[in-house]
Amino acid sequence: MLVLTRKIDESIIIGDNIEVKLLAVDGSSIKLGIQAPRAVPVHRKEVYEEIVRENQAARTAAPVALENLKRLLKERK
């Protein structure tokens, strides 16, 4: 991993068009400003990982008849 030291208001550039700027430091929290093309999604890693886990869990292993789910829906509503 590349490790760089930055001061407040200093930034790094990733590629040609992604800038990560250190905005503020408060104890063990730091505030980052990220400027990236709109097509580049930026997420907190733990949120992204939660979606990865949920996608993998939701992947359907066994087929169910959609008909049965529709019936279940009617019973529940």
């Binding site: 939660e50 979606i51 996608n55 359907t60």
Partner: protein
């Protein structure tokens, strides 16, 4: 095209119904072509089947049936990606986790699929609203 699926055996897929993911779904890198299998238009549940890996299939649902107040704000990046001119052209589906007991199944409201059906594009969007949970029960416990 004919596709051999683990869940349904061989199925015939209309190429015209294939959608292209503008970004792979988190956890499924490399899979970009899917089809919505929609045998019954009156059923809010549908299948979202990968055309590149026959073993990857998701149950998806129309959120309006279960969560009438659910609102997906499609941000600029996703709008651009999906070539959406208006938010009204976006069609939203939620991924359902069936779990062991269908009466306990949950929907991922935090990361819905957003479609531009006119352009056959789709993307899973991670919402910033922390009130939307990845495992929201479809049926309230008391119902």
């Amino acid at each position: 095209m004919q596709l051999e699926t683990r869940a349904f055996g061989p199925i015939e897929i209309d190429e015209e119904k294939a959608v292209l993911l503008t970004d792979p779904m988190p956890g499924f890198p490399g899979l970009k072509r899917f089809a919505v299998l929609d045998p019954d238009p009156d059923n809010p549940f549908k299948w979202f089947q990968s055309l590149e890996d026959s073993e990857v299939c998701f149950l998806i649902a129309d959120p309006a049936t279960f969560f009438p107040d659910y609102f997906v704000a499609v941000k600029g990046g996703a709008m651009e990606d999906l070539e959406l001119e208006s938010e009204n052209d976006a069609v939203v589906a939620v991924i359902v986790n069936l779990g062991a007991d269908p009466s306990q199944m949950t929907a991922n409201l935090r990361a819905p699929l957003v479609f531009n059906l006119r352009k056959s594009l789709c993307r899973q969007v991670i919402l910033e609203d922390v009130n939307y949970k990845v495992r929201t029960p479809l049926f309230s416990p008391g119902s």
